[in-house]
Symmetry: C2
Subunit: 226 residues, 2 copies
């Protein structure tokens, strides 16, 4: 039974970019000496809050996270629903700001493997592939982010709205909710409230978003980005 459980854990860990390419042999050894904490967060409970210290990596094995991000002036809020497997903000255990930048809540009961920062550094010392995975993951993030400003101009206001939403997504797929007033969105896009309203209604007519008071719902971000 124990053995079966281990095999299941290996399979699950291999889904995470940081463990990709590792052999079962490596993973067996790792389980032998790395301190893994197993954490379960019940539905509706917070996993961590914005500004909490990030000194562990959380690998979500199962469940759904609600990730909530306010604009820096709290003028609007963005909500995402992230399914496992997901690694919570690996770019925050190093660097200038070692605090989370979002609120994470268990939307469905979530199971995590948690690894301490020191252990992550040990892993990157002892496993070349792990170190390379970590460097590749962080570099990839920089590359994707840095490309953003150089993209072509959106052709119309609808495309501007799609880009506004897309730039704020952790994952470019799944359901999103944006709690934003039409006037704020108009300011963000440097356009009139009326034109923004017309464009949003066009997107709603196409079935890509749903509008309600102070809220835009994107049922499937992958469809909006098409």
């Amino acid at each position: 039974m124990e053995r079966l459980y281990e095999i299941q854990l290996f399979r699950k860990l291999l889904q995470f970019p940081l463990f990709q390419g590792m052999s079962q042999d490596d993973l067996t050894k790792i389980v032998g000496y790395v301190k893994f904490d197993f954490i379960k967060v019940e539905r509706g409970k917070a996993v961590m809050h914005e500004n909490d210290i990030c000194d562990h990596l959380y690998f979500m094995l199962n469940g759904i996270l609600e990730v909530r991000t306010p604009a820096s002036d709290h003028g609007y809020t963005f909500v995402e629903h992230i399914h496992a497997p997901y690694t919570i903000q690996p770019e925050r255990i190093f660097g200038l700001i070692q605090h989370y930048s979002h609120d994470f809540m268990a939307e469905e009961t979530c199971g995590f493997v948690r690894i301490d920062k020191e252990e992550i550094l040990k892993l990157s010392d002892n496993y070349f592939i792990f170190k390379l995975n970590l460097l590749n993951l962080l570099s990839r993030e920089v590359q994707v982010c840095a490309r953003e400003p150089w993209k072509s101009v959106p052709k119309n206001l609808e495309e501007r709205i799609v880009r506004f939403i897309g730039q704020r997504c952790i994952r470019p797929a799944g359901r999103k909710e944006i709690f934003i007033k039409m006037t704020r969105l108009a300011e963000e896009l440097n356009d009139s409230r009326l034109d923004v309203s017309i464009a949003l209604n066009h997107l709603q007519d196409k079935g890509l978003i749903q509008l309600s008071r102070g809220k835009i719902t994107v049922p499937a971000m992958e469809d909006l980005l098409k």
Copy 2:
């Protein structure tokens, strides 16, 4: 003489984020076994072009680089002037895209220490501080980049122009030239050509930018960002 040269090299390497915090002792050992190439690029010559393969890290010890970046649709071009010390795109030797994303030209004769990717990995294996510097540097880049979309809305068109320029800078200081038509800038900012022209002229009147046909010059980005 050799010894004096070595000490000078140590001092210069310590200016780079990747070598920060290393002892002279460490650096002496490193110089003993890491393959450093010394490269000089004469004024006016290319150091590398956009899309060249990035399999080395270039540490610029002296000189000035002209860094040229086209928009992805080549609708405008951004030019920066970067003084030593400067590490050329450390986020490009790992990750998805291992190619440079800018053109680099020696504006004044430039001296580089060049280190192979394999040697960089060896350094990060053998020196904890080097590995931590590398992870911190990449993480910091992600953090800075990821914060961008969440900033407050610019209050007026002048601020939008400043943000447009600021988001495209490698360094938020020094001289920049943007080769862009007023119509393109107006499209980027979702505003009218006339209003963009008025705002640019205000900025020029304040001495923060200089306008010429198809070109905006920022003499000192640090002043524009104030």
